[in-house]
Amino acid sequence: MRILVQSDPFDVAAETEGFAQGHENVGALVSFTGIVRNNDAGTLKSMQIEHYPGMTEKALAKIATEAQSRWDLQDVLVIHRHGDLVPGEKIMMVATAARHRKAAFEAADYLMDYLKSRAPFWKREITSDGAEWVAAKEDDEEALNRW
């Protein structure tokens, strides 16, 4: 398991390649990358991501451990950034390695659902109109009921 919480950018290709190494019984690797999307009006200047140092790492490890207990996974990777990001920048990535694709896909989906509403990050959008905290979506909370 590899959990990274950092303000620096990360290299998706290098992380994915490194993650796949050394696992002879891995038949499937799924990765997801989250990117800062501009709003419909195109006015987003930056996305500020605040987090709770200490609890963030603990919550991510707990989510990843739960995924490992539910699916037959060989490894899990979670990288999440904090600080100021601009549209187009990568915010986070998850990757899962498993013997078979179904477990890898499902576990990655599970990780994303839990990262959305159970990891202590808060997004704030800075636009030409000012700054606003992003409200949590009810859909994101309901998505947890799938699991």
Binding site: G34, E50, Y52, G54, M55, K58, A59, H80, I91, M92, M112, L115, K116, S117, R118, A119, P120, F121, W122, K123, R124, W133, V134, A135, A136, E141
Partner: protein, 81 residues
């Protein structure tokens, strides 16, 4: 105990953390103590359905006991990913 605030809770209260002497035995009692202190706390804690609480860095709830707890954090619903 240490009390931490994040996102708009931090902004409304005006500080990221503080050390408190409290006799509260549950999170709810601590919230009542804070609400009674000053208007900015009353405003931040006006709608508990918009707040989450963590005890020693684990998500908890407002009915939970504070016995042995060293760190309490209040924040809005999380928006990771």
């Amino acid at each position: 105990m240490q009390v931490l605030y994040f996102a708009w809770v931090r902004e409304r209260i005006g500080l990221p953390k503080e050390t408190l002497e409290s006799s509260a035995s549950t999170v709810m009692e601590l919230v009542e103590e804070l609400r009674a202190r000053e208007e900015r706390y009353a405003v931040a804690f006006s709608d508990l359905s918009a707040l989450r609480v963590a005890l020693d860095q684990d998500l908890s709830d407002f009915d939970a006991s504070l016995e042995g707890v060293r760190e309490v954090a209040f924040f809005p619903p999380m928006t990771g990913g």
